[in-house]
Symmetry: C3
Subunit: 311 residues, 3 copies
């Protein structure tokens, strides 16, 4: 999330942190490590990730251990970086619940049809020539391009599913990202597309999504993809252009799927894939390899019995 440029020292004061390094640096965004840019503040609370965080593009890092501050960066020392970060998120983006079905701060383009029962949150932008079917819910800050169709009862911009397991509870990472839907996208009925936890969940131009599809936080989908019914895409997944995901396929967290990949129905993708290839299975492998395995598996019972009877 972009914020108004604010000196790191001022953010430190808001969360009661000790400042190490360039206290006067101006911070222009809050972000999670996966999607960080220069000017951003991030948090880290486990030594395993310290190196990654400190060498990232982040300008400021909330951290729970006194370490050397890299040149040109600033550290905010705090016992609970996760909780402190959450406090900043809600400071810069307080929850404001709309009483109106269509928020007065929403901007809706020309020739766009908003059907009965649709909810449109604060600061939402919807372009021209869109059709938003009944009872669809569009959370605050969502950006929708032109010629976009969203079928009934879909939900755009719900919170990221992102929790830290504490000893006696699950602590939520507060979402402050958004959803960006580019021109000419069609989204089926009953879909859910989560907002980025700090960055954007993006659906690329011309991509078509069938019914009951889930797209997780901060995932980006390229242009002209087709995603069949009941596919699930977890968080922070990067999908290229012209990708085809068949029905009920699932893509795990943090996966990269390059251009022109095809994933067959019910496959489960747990590793990065290679451009232009076709995959099948759970866990997914190249389809022809997987089909070969399955053909041999079919022969396995009689093969084992044959061996047993002949040795």
């Amino acid at each position: 999330m972009k914020i108004q440029a604010t000196p790191a020292s001022e953010l430190a004061k808001l969360i009661g942190a000790k400042v190490i390094g360039s206290a006067q640096k101006h911070i222009t965004g809050l972000n999670e490590i996966h999607r960080v840019n220069e000017g951003d503040l991030i948090f880290v609370d486990h030594p395993k990730y310290f190196k990654n965080a400190l060498s990232s593009k982040a300008t400021a890092v909330i951290i729970n251990q006194e370490v050397e501050c890299p040149d040109g960066k600033v550290l905010l020392l705090h016992e609970e970086p996760f909780t402190a970060y959450n406090k900043l998120v809600r400071h810069f983006q307080p929850l404001q619940f709309s009483n109106a079905s269509i928020s007065p701060t929403a901007r809706i383009g020309e020739n766009t049809v908003i059907m009965p029962g649709v909810f449109v949150g604060h600061e939402v932008e919807i372009g021209d020539n869109c059709i938003i079917y009944p009872n669809t819910v569009i959370y605050d800050y969502t950006h929708i391009g032109n010629n976009v169709i969203i079928h009934a009862n879909s939900v755009i911009g719900s919170d990221a599913f992102y929790f830290k397991r504490r000893l006696s509870k699950l602590e939520k990472l507060e979402s402050c990202g958004d959803v960006i839907i580019h021109n000419d996208v069609e989204i089926g009925a009953g879909c859910t597309i989560d907002r980025g936890v700090s960055a954007s969940t993006i659906i690329g131009e011309g991509t078509k999504i069938d019914n009951l599809v889930h797209i997780g936080h901060d995932s980006t989908i390229g242009k002209h993809c087709t995603i069949a019914a009941q596919v699930g895409v977890a968080g922070v997944v990067d999908i290229g252009d012209n990708v085809i995901l068949w029905g009920q396929a699932g893509i795990a967290n943090d996966i990269t799927i390059p251009n022109n990949v095809e994933v067959y129905a019910q496959s489960g993708v747990g590793k990065d894939l290679e451009s232009g290839k076709v995959y099948f299975g759970s866990p997914a492998a190249e389809a022809r390899e997987k089909f070969k395995e399955l053909a041999y598996l079919k022969k396995l019972p009689s093969f084992i019995e044959h061996i047993k009877n002949n040795t």
Copy 2:
């Protein structure tokens, strides 16, 4: 979709096509090749499908190559049959978005309960003694029989997921079909049932559907089936009577499942099945064969190690 009987020559004029054959034939419907009837107009744009299209029951065919016209039929020669067909669809069934939650052209039977937040589109028919739970969305032209229960937030009649991949975009086949739900059907919460792209999606008498189930365009489901939660049925699937689909099973496009078939949970059906049999696996096979394979797969590691150590 049925249309008012119209001479083929007039349809040709609407799309700027050259007529070959019986120009005066009256056309009474627009249809997709899978569900075509006599009197229908269809389209074909790839030589691979020419023979099928020309020998089908269709009376008129929009086609992109000058071929011999079969006796008693009429060809409409057009560079882009897909686009021309779409133009006819929206000519005969223009999109008309209802401002009302319940369209004044909807017909709702006696003793039927429509709960708050429900949307009922144009020309929808709902029979007697139905219960439509809150926030359900029923698109235009849907027919619902008597004693039907639809749980909250389900969507009936959303557009078919049917796109043609062009060089730089996906072109949508415009839906003009409908959904027919027969008597005594119960549909769970959060389901999506797409309309036929040109014909009808049909749910047979007494069939019961659990939550979050997807039924694709032009699929027909027989009588007294049970379909458990999160099952996905793709487009143009034909399912018989008394079929049982357990949770999260998936059925691919164009599949036929005859009467009394049982498909176990999470199975993926990619081939036509046989009446009265039980199936499991992804891809699905007869359950006892599949379970046998899995039992042998369990023994495989120790079997291979044993062979290695003894040869």
Copy 3:
């Protein structure tokens, strides 16, 4: 479902049953065999289950065969126990459809936000500091604790999917149970949580549920679980504390999953699991066993070819 204490003889009169045994016993609840308590009336209609039913905690049993009545119990002899039981369910809990989006009998706590388009049924209780996002539907009798978040278009309390297959139809077991959601639970967008058919579906304190998840009737989920997107939990499943179910996993009917179990994505659980273990596959097995099988399956084609070429 609890009912006002009523003599068994009076219930027998309501359904036209013959009484055997302690006719004056007061009955305080209607229940299904899986969740029965003392004071409850249950039904049984197949000799296979007679022993179970008669030796259960039930005080009264509707039964279709004259058998010996256990001491201190009462039998209600009826040709169609299933139908007779249904009649009692709707006698004590008649369907009453709310015209209001928020029923006047609902009790909503302090500082709780109910967003536009939400439906709240009769006798619903919602605690303090909750956020109910737009177009969520909460059926009658649901109990929701404090600090609960429910995202848009979720459905809480829809009917159990529970049908008896008759010769020419599926007869529904009428639901009279409820849903109980404890404090600090978060439920994603587009989820469906069915009410108990006679008891309660329970989501334990602090549990977090992602989008498009289905939880079946009478299932109980412990504390601080995380359930990822598109998971399906069937009916009468018991899940302990700190359980993790990854995306698209499915849990079959009547399964027990104890504390600290982790089930990987797309797994299908068809047997009771053991505490603290990790599972994968469909059907699910211990993950390391399953991964070992899959590693050997990968080698299978070349192994079989090698054997063939060397014997």
